[in-house]
Structures are given as C-alpha cells and as structure tokens.
C-alpha cells in the first residue's frame, strides 16, 4: 500500500530527472535554471503577443491571478526551429485574442514569467495542441481543460 502511495512521487521524480537531463540539450542559453523545473502551474488568459523569434520565442497572455490581480504573463518557449519540427507549430499558431491555457514551469523568483520546453499541455480556444515530450515523442492527447 505504501508503495502505491509513493508511486506518484516516484513518477514525478522520474519525470523531473528526465526533464533535468533533457533540458540542457534543448535550452538555448541555459535559461531553464531560472524556472522551477520540478514544478508546474497552469496559466489561462488571452494572447496579447506571440513572438516567433530565434533563439527564444515567447507568448504573452493577459491573465487574472488567484489574488485577483490582472497581469501580462510571459511564457518562454523554444526556438521556432524546434517548435516547428517537433510540435508542428507555426508563427500563426497563436493569434492575438486567442484564449489559451498553458502548463509552464514558474519563475523561481515568483515573477510573472514561466517557461515550457516540453509537454506543455496547451489548449488554444479549447483545442489541445501537439507538444513534444522529453523522450522525443509528441503528446497529442491530454486531460480536458
């Protein structure tokens, strides 16, 4: 029974290890260390800008935090080359005004910035986008938003 209770923690630790080892091969300037790679949060908001740029792309969302504060939240993303190859994303994947739900690693300092390089569980206007997994495969199914 104890083993069963520990399974989620073990799975989480294994996933964190995978992410930790995979991150150096994917992050461009080592920005991954600025984010809590063991933690996930989900942000939901309206797209204000999608910056499709090398070597760092970014998505900006207007969100309402749990505190009730309205902020413009920034999400650091991989380069266009990587996102187009593995996810099939393009510069038209996100449009201003889209409603987006995005799973990210939060800033370690509590800033309104997150990062996702793998398995981002992204929904655009309610539809799941393909997202690369650490093992190189692509997630095409996920929990409903």
């Amino acid at each position: 029974m104890k083993t069963l209770k520990l399974l989620p923690a073990i799975a989480g630790a294994l996933f964190s290890l995978l992410t930790l080892f995979a991150a150096p091969a994917i992050a461009h300037h080592g920005t991954a260390v600025s984010y809590d790679q063991n933690g996930w949060i989900t942000v939901k908001g309206t797209v204000t800008e999608f910056r499709w740029r090398n070597p760092h792309s970014a998505l900006f969302l207007d969100i309402t935090k749990e505190s009730g504060d309205n902020v413009n939240y920034a999400i650091e993303l991989p380069s266009p080359v990587l996102m187009s190859r593995s996810n099939g994303w393009t510069r038209a994947t996100f449009k201003v005004g889209d409603t987006v739900e995005f799973r990210v690693h939060p800033s370690r300092t509590g800033a309104d910035v997150g990062e996702c390089l793998f398995d981002c569980l992204v929904y655009v206007n309610g539809e799941l986008l393909a997202s690369r997994l650490p093992n190189g495969e692509t997630r095409t199914e996920g929990a409903a938003p």
């Binding site: 080592g30 910056r51 090398n54 187009s84 370690r108 800033a111």
Partner: protein, 250 residues
C-alpha cells in the same frame, strides 16, 4: 615535401581511398550525452587545469551544467548574441551538415547559421601567433586511413569550449579526429593543448553523430540566427524579468 608525398601517393593510386567522395557528406546530429560529467561536456573526468586555467574557469558563469546559475547573473557570451564558436557548436545538439570535397570538408552549422572549412589540400597549418583570431578557427586536415585528423589554430578565446564555461585562449591548439564508424554514424574526439590553461593536453571522450535522412525532422538545416535585436528584447522582457520577482535573492 608533404605535398610531394601526397602527389606521389595519388600517382600510385594509394590516396584514392583516403580522398574518396562522400565519406563524411551528410547531415548529422550528436547523439552521445555528457550531462553527468563533472566540469566539461567534453570530458568525463576533471580537467588538468593550471592555476591560471582554474581561475578563468571559475570566472566563467554558465547557465547550464554543474555550475549553472541564473543567466541574468551569469556572463555567458551568448547572452549578448555573440557567436557560439566552433567547439561549443560541435558539442551542442543541433544539426551539422558536412560536405566533403576533393580539397576540403565544409561543415555547415544550423546553430547560429555558421560554417567552417577544413582544408585537405596539403597546405600547412598557419602559425598560431599569426592566424586569427577567428570564432571558428583555421583548420587543416589530413587523412590517416579512414580518419580525418584536423588541426585547428587561430581561435578566438572569448568563446567557450562548451555550454558549461570550459575555457580556451587565442593560442589553444586543438586536434580533431573524425571517423565514420558505420554507414549511419561518425565519431569525433578532440585533444586540447594550451599550456597556459592546462598542465597537459587532454583528450575528450568520443562524441558520436547520427546521420539524419533528408526527409527526417532534422534532415534539413533551418535558420537559427542569433540577432542582437531579438536578444536585447528577450533579455529585458523575459530573462531578467524571470530573475527579478518578489522572491529574488540576488
């Protein structure tokens, strides 16, 4: 003398295999890891630093590897969109296209959209004190059987040898040994010589590169240029912002 010997080998037909077309031509992706190495992505052991070399190594503040810290507080040359340089590019996991010609091997790098030439026409290696400095060095190669042995000098020591801040200088000399290990793989080892930074030459582990079919995801090089106009904006709005939230300690 060297040119005379090469010409003689060709005249005897002995050089034809060494200079055969297409041995290295193709697109490759590094597929050997180094994440648990103690200091450098190039070496599974600790490096033989001199006191001066250790001081330079300690002064380099990378955003990756065992000494990683937040890039906002580091000094990675890439943080201002400088070129990665030759060896950092070789150890990074992005596609490399090799084109083997009768008198040279050209390597095209997706990462940063740079290239380097390895001259195999029998020319001499230039004087390291005169050549360069070049971010991608000056390289001359010779075939030893099926292995392309490359000597690179004239490097620009402001770049890093890898993502983890391993240093070199303008006078570092590096020997590369490229071999095709099978029809889908090439391998590389480097030997780094720099008496200022290292008490003795050291040789990397074997890095392997898997050939990428043209119709595969990584089979075609795409543009990944580092443009300062984008980097400045990224640093201001993402990198530095991520490091300066209410829980910041630096």
């Amino acid at each position: 003398m060297k040119k005379f010997l090469l010409a003689s080998l060709f005249a005897l037909g002995l050089g034809s295999q060494a200079f055969a077309q297409g041995e290295l031509t193709g697109v490759y992706l590094r597929n050997s890891g180094s994440n648990d190495y103690p200091q450098s992505q190039w070496n599974p052991a600790e490096l033989p630093f001199t006191a001066a070399g250790k001081a330079v190594f300690d002064a380099n503040k990378p955003g990756k590897g065992p000494r990683q810290s937040m890039p906002a507080f580091g000094n990675d040359p890439l943080g201002q969109s400088n070129p990665p340089g030759l060896y950092r590019t070789l150890v990074y996991g992005r596609p490399i296209e090799m084109v083997q010609l009768p008198d040279r091997v050209v390597q095209l790098f997706e990462w940063g959209k740079h290239w380097r030439t390895i001259w195999t026409d029998g020319r001499e290696v230039p004087d390291a004190l005169v050549a360069g400095p070049f971010w991608y060095g000056y390289s001359v190669g010779q075939w030893e059987g099926d292995t392309l042995v490359v000597k690179t000098v004239g490097l620009d020591g402001r770049a890093w040898l890898d993502e983890w801040g391993t240093p070199y200088t303008d006078l570092t000399e590096i020997e590369e040994r490229w071999s095709r290990t099978d029809d889908k793989t090439v391998s590389l080892t480097i030997t780094v010589t720099d008496p200022e930074l290292y008490s003795q030459p050291w040789t990397s582990d074997v890095k392997t590169f898997a050939q990428q079919p043209t119709d595969s995801l990584n089979g075609e090089l795409m543009e990944q240029i580092f443009a300062p106009i984008d980097e400045v904006q990224f640093n201001l709005e993402i990198r530095d912002r991520a490091a300066s939230g209410p829980n910041a300690t630096e």
